[in-house]
Amino acid sequence: MNAPQQPVAERMTYREACKQALRQALAADPRIFLMGEDIGRYGGCYAVTKGLLDEFGEERIRDTPLSESAFVGAGIGAAMAGMRPIVEIMTVNFSLLALDQILNNAVTIPYMSGGQFAVPLIIRMATGGGRRVAAQHSHSLEGWYAHIPGLRILTPATIEDARFMLIEALKDPNPTIIFEHVMLYNMEGDLDAAIASVDVSRAKVRRSGADVSLVAYGGSLFKTLGAAERLSQDGISAEVVDLRVLRPLDAKTILDSVTKTRRCVIVDEGWRSGSISAEIGMRIAEEAFFELDAPLRRVCGREVPMPYAAHLEDACLPQVDAIVAAARELVRPS
């Protein structure tokens, strides 16, 4: 018999990974506290913060009234005054009620004050479609936020990123928004016990390939990996780039991949016009135009307010079939 081995991986949900990250942060630094709607007694609308109230108390797990602008602004003020608040907004659509504070205060004050004040604030929010909750809870506005200089925009898609991105983001003296896709919370996966941190500045190649680059993030990553698997059965070798960070965008990893494969499909749950996919496409056009063997393609969210009916919502979101079709067309044009 061999001696019992250390576990090499721990199985957990994305939700649990988010929670462990918060717990680690709260335990490590008394300046860190949580604010948000129903994060305490209710346990969080997606149950991410469940149990933290008992562990850390009401001072640090702060239930707020339904006042997004006030509690996000309070987070900004507290960050300016030396604390490290983590604010949860239930869903990206509600964050629009706090957009004034995020844009007009959080990102302008460090600049307007000539560097006298930093705003080391984390805002977490759920994003994306797929839960049949229609047009006021399902949009994917990460690309909008990625438009704003001064923010770091993180889109953890894997268990590992859900577990460790927050810890790295807390080291950043700048405001950071972490978008957690609603369809990922129940996803299970193995967390490699050997990993204790992740980088929050680089995109990552999740699957290596030679024929076409599939660039995705957040809720679209696993659909894109699924598409790559299907393509491989057709003999098409697709490389999958997980953006991970929408701002500042890691153009190098994208360009390196496209330079290798010479073809690119960008997958983005956001609306096509003026989207992060448009930005990525233009970066490729500016920097790697002559490396391309085929036009750029996008698979984006359809440009409608998200409908309730399941078949209509499914038709709005990037799906494996559409990604496969777009890639196939580039590699083997009919």
Binding site: A70, I76, G77, A81, M83, I109, Q116
Partner: protein, 328 residues
Amino acid sequence: MTHKVHLDHAHLRHLLNAMIRIRRFEAKCVELYQAQKILGFLHLYDGEEAVSVGVMEALTPQDAVIATYREHGQALARGVDPGCLMAEMFGKLNGCCRGRGGSMHFFHRQTRFYGGNAIVGGGLPLALGVALADKMVGKKAVTACFFGDGAADEGEFHETLNLAKLWRLPILFVCENNLYAMGTAVERAEADTDFVHKAASYKIEGERVDGMDVVAVESAARNAIDKIRATSDPFFLECRTYRFRAHSMFDAQLYRSKEEVEEWRKKGPIIRYQTWLEENHLIRAEEVLQMEKAIDAEVAAAVAFADAGALEPVSELERFVTMQEVPA
């Protein structure tokens, strides 16, 4: 219970000096605006000086201040050097914000001046956070949050008052009610024109004070701060005041009559206080002249400092978009 302001000769002179200093600093700003040395918007505090001078007297250095885009008076009364304020308006590197903020966005870390804010109501939620941070680390500080009557139209006003009371945060809300939100009279914007009453609906104790009377403002602010320190509850001070000049620099003032402005000018905080001091033989006219001379010299020095300042190199344009570290 009223807090007696200690009215010794030095303090009486100091209050007058502080108000005249703001008035003359801004009179110079007008000249410099016309000379196009100051650009953009310029919102003058002319007529409202008693409010910030009175309130700042009640604060200690460990307290925090949040102001609006009409914040020259607050910054000067808080003790920010007039030279770095003037240089900021000149867009110079030696300005308090290295020329990135301008007249509406003064910030000053050393005096805990958390900014002018040119979004009406935008500073109120920040006050929650600053006060919460101080409370959580056990600092016995009060956050004085200035805003105008127009801020009460914004949702952030109501959200903030509710949270301040709910979380028992040590905030002094100072409503500078100058009767107009830009050109919209209070009674044309507010279903309830009683701001203290609005605060009371969030169970916040408040008081209305004559914002043209510097001693009354100081006394009310001292009372309020004492209560806040004793209870850790917020307090709401409505200061009725009046803006003598245009909203910004260009404003035909169609929304109010010349007679109305003239009536208020007669009740101005400086003329009224100075007359009272002179009539009671607490100050002589020549003392005031000396005071004005010294202030003019200080303002001239501020202008010289601003003039002598360098420009931020354009190569530094993107500096502070993201910070490299949290300032200590």
